[in-house]
């Protein structure tokens, strides 16, 4: 199933689930599933990690047939590509893309996510070498393209000392590697901060842990707080950030057009407590697959209405980040429910987008001065809010 109107849904993908090959060796071998799933809740509010369902099981991506099954299941749900992490190793990068590439084509491509090294570690020449190594690692595979260029997501761009320089470096390296051009997406919530001015082509909503877009749920009252402090109850909730899922998805979609060219990141669930055993985890509470479907459908409608035809991307976080409980793969506990809702969301979003073809883009009539209207309405709101 391919969504209409050039809509593409990508899913973040962990390629470490393999039992042989360079990436497996570089990461120290062992059982990657064990590494991902061996975490047990220490707090009452920590939901246990889910287990892979029988549809795909604990696959080994180094096994071509297993990798093919994964891609086939993703395709059938309407997903158009995976986003793979670039793992820094020795003087280069490893992505694991070679396992998936044989199953990719124009309708299903690979994009990559790169987390820059901490700035003090790289001088000018080292940074150029690093960019060249990065491009070498991501070239040669079936690319997922936006605006005709391979997509590279830059994680944590706010840590870059000079974003414009990095962008220029990456573009030069891409040219040198024969990629022709590269479509750079910075992980940032809104167009303020100069990332688009620095040369990034678009932005992408950060993850729930990177951007707490709504205020935490107030799940505990003062009495419970006192109880926890007195040692009569689990005080872990005070150490973690818990967001109500409905409020979280609303906060991610509210006033989106004002945030500029930011691709939506659709999240079903998120709980990174396994990596924050002493507190500081981010969790979503009261998640709902129905709301997830609407989140996904709404994101598709948004990009169809606001973004150019070759740049209509929606990201799902994630396909198989089991350790963060955000996976949409089939699980033992919920079978294919989430994957089915993913497919439903893509179908629904595609349909709604089709029904709105020809609708004038909001706020673009040359006959109307929108700033004057906004100012007038703000002024009246202030007048009405003022005490009598």
């Amino acid at each position: 199933m391919i969504p209409p109107l050039n809509l593409r849904v990508l899913a973040f993908f962990d390629a470490r689930f393999q039992f042989s090959g360079p990436l497996w060796q570089a990461l120290g071998g062992g059982d990657p599933w064990q590494t991902a799933l061996a975490a047990y809740p220490a707090r009452r509010h920590h939901s246990p990690l889910l287990q892979p369902g029988k549809a795909l099981g604990r696959y080994d991506l180094a096994d071509a047939a297993a990798a093919g099954r994964v891609v086939a299941v993703a395709r059938s749900a309407g997903i158009g590509g995976f986003v793979l992490d670039c793992h820094r190793f020795a003087d280069g990068y490893l992505t694991g893309a070679d396992c998936l590439d044989p199953w990719c084509d124009d309708d299903f491509g690979l994009a990559f996510r790169w987390t820059p090294a901490p700035a003090p570690l790289l001088d000018e020449d080292a940074a150029a070498d690093d960019a060249a190594a990065l491009m070498a690692a991501i070239s040669g595979f079936s690319p997922l393209v936006a605006d005709g260029r391979q997509v590279l997501v830059v994680n944590e761009p706010y840590k870059l000392p000079d974003p414009a320089r990095t962008v220029a470096l990456l573009r030069r390296a891409a040219q040198a590697a024969g990629l022709g051009g590269i479509y750079l997406v910075a992980t940032a919530a809104e167009a303020r901060g100069g990332l688009l001015d620095a040369g990034f082509d678009a932005l992408l909503d950060p993850s729930p842990a990177q951007w707490r877009s709504c205020k935490p749920a107030e799940l505990l009252n003062g009495y419970t707080f006192l109880q926890a402090e007195a040692g009569q109850a689990d005080g872990g909730m005070f150490d973690d950030t818990i967001m109500n899922y409905a409020q979280f998805v609303n906060s991610r979609m509210v006033d989106r057009p004002t945030r500029g060219k930011v691709f939506p990141r659709v999240v079903l669930d998120y709980a990174d407590w396994p990596d924050h055993p002493r507190g500081g985890a981010t969790l979503l509470a009261s998640t709902s697959s129905v709301l997830y479907r609407r989140f996904l459908a709404g994101a598709l409608t948004h990009v169809a209405q606001h973004f150019p035809e070759g740049e209509r991307l929606v990201f799902i976080d994630s396909w198989n980040h089991w350790r963060q409980r955000s996976q949409i793969e089939p699980t033992t506990q919920f079978s294919t429910t989430v994957l089915d809702e993913t497919a439903n969301g893509i179908r629904q979003g595609g349909y709604v987008a089709l029904t709105r073809v020809g609708e004038p883009a909001p706020g673009r009539s040359p006959a109307v001065d929108y700033d004057v209207i906004a100012a007038l309405c703000r002024q009246i709101e202030d007048e009405l809010s003022a005490p009598a």
Partner: protein, 505 residues
Amino acid sequence: MLSSLAITADGVESFDFRFSTGLLTANDILDSATSPPGRYVWEVARRTLAACPSADAVVVSNPILPIRGSRLASLVLKGGALTCPAVVTDEATFPIAYILPRQLFEEGLGRFLCLLSVSRSAADAQLLSRLTGGGFVPRRTSTLRAVGTLPESTPQGYVLGDNLEAWLVQCVNAVTLMRTRDDWRQLPFAAHHPNHAGDVLFFSLASRLVPDGQLAFQRQVVCHSYLDIFQDCGNRLEPIVLDIPPAPRNTDVGDGRYFVESLAHLPPGVAEETFIVFSRYSKAYAKSPFNLIDHARFSLGDPVATFADTLYNRAPALGQPQHRASPPPTPLRVLMQLTGGWDLKTYPAKDRRVLIRALCDLGCEVSVIDQPEAAADGATVVTAGSTSALRSLLADHHVFVSVDSFPLHFASQVLGHPTVAVFGCTAPGNSDAPRRPAYRLPAPALPCGPCGCLDYCPLLMIRECTNQPRPAQLVAAVLELAHEAYGRAHQAHGLGAAVTQGDAA
């Protein structure tokens, strides 16, 4: 989830269908909330026979149960030779599938399957018996453990409860009618969809879009208080007027219960000569992305099988006029309907005040329907108690701003008046108009909608919906429409501040 088996001389082929969530393929069937489950038995059988033309019979699963094709095959094929027709039950008596002969469809009797009870195998067997010549129709017990108590609503969207009784009553009444009338094949079908105003409008427009060869209904039961809508919207069906009040808008009386009780109030003789099909909501309509006009078209017999068939691609078929206001071009006159069928549809009071004041400050004349408190902000309060009153109000106003309610649908879908649609807690795709010039929909962006709540926001626990567009969006949309529909005339009068200089020149 819907499934079927095609029975041929060579063997059995199983099929899986889906209630469509947006895609319309040979295996995706339009999700229509106004269709009783039996309508899906008909549609699944029709598609199965089309896919397998050599089939002598077809087995269709009960639409309210989630049965995969492979499971259906294992349940039906165990236990000796198949008889046709038959009702397959669980290990008790609950119907889980129907074995239907091809001949039933060749004789054009498929529409009678809309009358299945889907909950009582005895009643369904009686119906199939009548449809297939009056012989004995056996119940074939399967190995499925007893279905047991059904939930109030199913993951597929079916609302059970009172609706189970409505489906049963329509089935029993149909069997009774077939027993008493030898000419039952010629008797008309009536869709029981008597209220509310917007729904009557959708059904009326749907009746105009269903091709003659597919229209399975000849009549529609409609409340007397909505008869003007029925007529002014050009409904092709013959009205059966129900002279009792419509069901209340809250959930005190469910659609199923209202159906059953209203049958006693039908005009004399109607029940003795009409098959009445429950056509109010069998499912939760907001689960489906399709327009309610398409829901109704499917109910009336149109398969709406591809995207090209849907309303959004077929709008010109309604022959929509481009209705325009007739008063002098200045000042710009704006009519508003800011309350809907339930409280949460109402545009928030504070935003309403900003909206009215901003338009007045820009030199517009604002009229608001049935909201006396709007007068304090400079609006004229008007009333529109009938379609003719609404029509004349619209003729006197250049642009109409309305929440999701009957006046919105009438202005945008029947008249084609310049309209700004305001949606918040409901899904626009269920009831907005196809895109055309002079129509604006500042779509709600929050995934919490449609929430299905009537009088409070389940997220914020307040009595307003925050998913409504902001006043500035609506003011901008009004001015855009004024420019689009009436050209530059309005810019001469007080709108200069909000209209760009270049365009005003």
